[in-house]
Symmetry: C2
Subunit: 250 residues, 2 copies
């Protein structure tokens, strides 16, 4: 294990992209919806478009332009924006879209498959370290997502606990405070260099996990670690190996 990770007391995980495959899961949920309402867009492109509104929506909260709201509220607004772009008019033409269907599609973010290594990796890591979600998602979203995929968190931290979205410092610092640890005893595990950079600026330890298919076959960002992170792994199983976590008995 690298020296800097020897005294870690908690592993906090970015979740969308790092632990679960949001793109496939959102496309899977969108496909029957798009077909039912005759909206002509590829489900993967739809997932990408929806996701592309994620950062700008949070930015309005980060900047103080609007007061704190949970991620499910932002996701729902973004969903309506994307549908409107593709011709949906909730007032008139697309009055046919039922509210219950929209609400259900918005919960696609709670029904995403973990990457194939994630459950085994987390289960092994949990034997040695307390583990938790350190996501921009809300508590309910993480709760249902974790039950869907069997993610064995000890705690759900992150944006709703901090009432602040990553990469704002409060999102990391209040998460560390909530588990009673100084920042240098907490590591963020993430597939995104900018998330790790913000965590490091708060004093966190940092682990980069390569997820080269998060954005599909044409991904061009976050393919490599862009700084000297404390550890780099290709999967959470590899991270469990690196941190000396025992194998699971079969």
């Amino acid at each position: 294990m690298t020296t800097s990770l020897q005294h870690i007391g908690f592993l906090g995980f970015d979740v969308f992209g790092t632990v679960v495959d949001w793109r496939s899961g959102v496309a899977r949920a969108a496909r029957p919806f798009l077909e039912r309402y005759g909206i002509d867009v590829d489900p993967f492109d739809f997932a990408d478009e929806w996701r592309s509104l994620y950062q700008p929506a949070m930015q309005a909260v980060r900047s103080g332009e609007r007061p704190w709201v949970r991620l499910d509220v932002l996701q729902r607004e973004n969903l309506e924006t994307v549908l409107a772009r593709h011709g949906a008019d909730f007032g008139a033409e697309f009055g046919a879209i039922e509210g219950a269907d929209l609400a259900d599609l918005n919960r696609a973010w709670e029904r995403l498959d973990p990457w194939p290594d994630a459950v085994e990796g987390l289960t092994r890591l949990k034997r040695r370290f307390p583990i938790g979600a350190l996501s921009n998602s809300h508590i309910a979203g993480m709760l249902y997502l974790s039950r869907f995929g069997g993610l064995p968190w000890d705690a759900i931290l992150g944006a709703e606990i901090a009432r602040s979205y990553k990469p704002q410092p409060q999102a990391y610092l209040k998460s560390a405070e909530a588990i009673g640890l100084p920042p240098h005893e907490v590591a963020l595990v993430a597939a995104h260099n900018d998330d790790l950079q913000a965590a490091r600026a708060c004093g966190f330890r940092t682990v980069f996990v390569r997820r080269p298919r998060e954005h599909g076959p044409k991904q061009s960002t976050d393919l490599v670690p862009e700084h000297d992170w404390d550890a780099v792994a290709d999967s959470l199983i590899e991270l469990a190996d690196l941190l000396g976590c025992p194998q699971l008995s079969r």
Copy 2:
């Protein structure tokens, strides 16, 4: 299953007394401390005294007399109060008490054994319902306590999430809000009639679990359900039976 529990979407648990045996655990941790510092009090009496300051300390926060503080802060103040009653003077006479020993004893509340039925009962209940701590403890306290005893929560809710101590309504209502459910779809499971009464007043469903030894062999309170709670059980295993949760495979 009683009709009123058919549409429950979440089971929230009181923890101290309902899920874990705080009295034995605190006495176990106190015994060597009291011996080391020559403080002449029975460890079980010490545990009872420490616990007796728990409600008055929270009351100062509930009433607005002092701003919100986490339970570990209150427990530490109460610990010093009890020690002082038994002759400890942290300034002079008992200057011998090391801060690290005090901090360690204060964490006795994170090292309490679950009641013998608790882990099996929770594990079965979790197969069918999302489950969470709905305690007056703080997030870190619940996290470490749960790891100590193997309590498989989906989420940690309660006082720190709500910044409000039970039985204040906000403690229940903000916990339900955090998991995205209306109060009538949440049940509180508790060994304390007053906790259940406050939860019911907020619209929660209610489950009374008998814990006749929480306060030791002479317990005189909460021996019976004092209202027509939605369910009553003698253990969390019995509750899992009542709610139709499958047995664990051996």
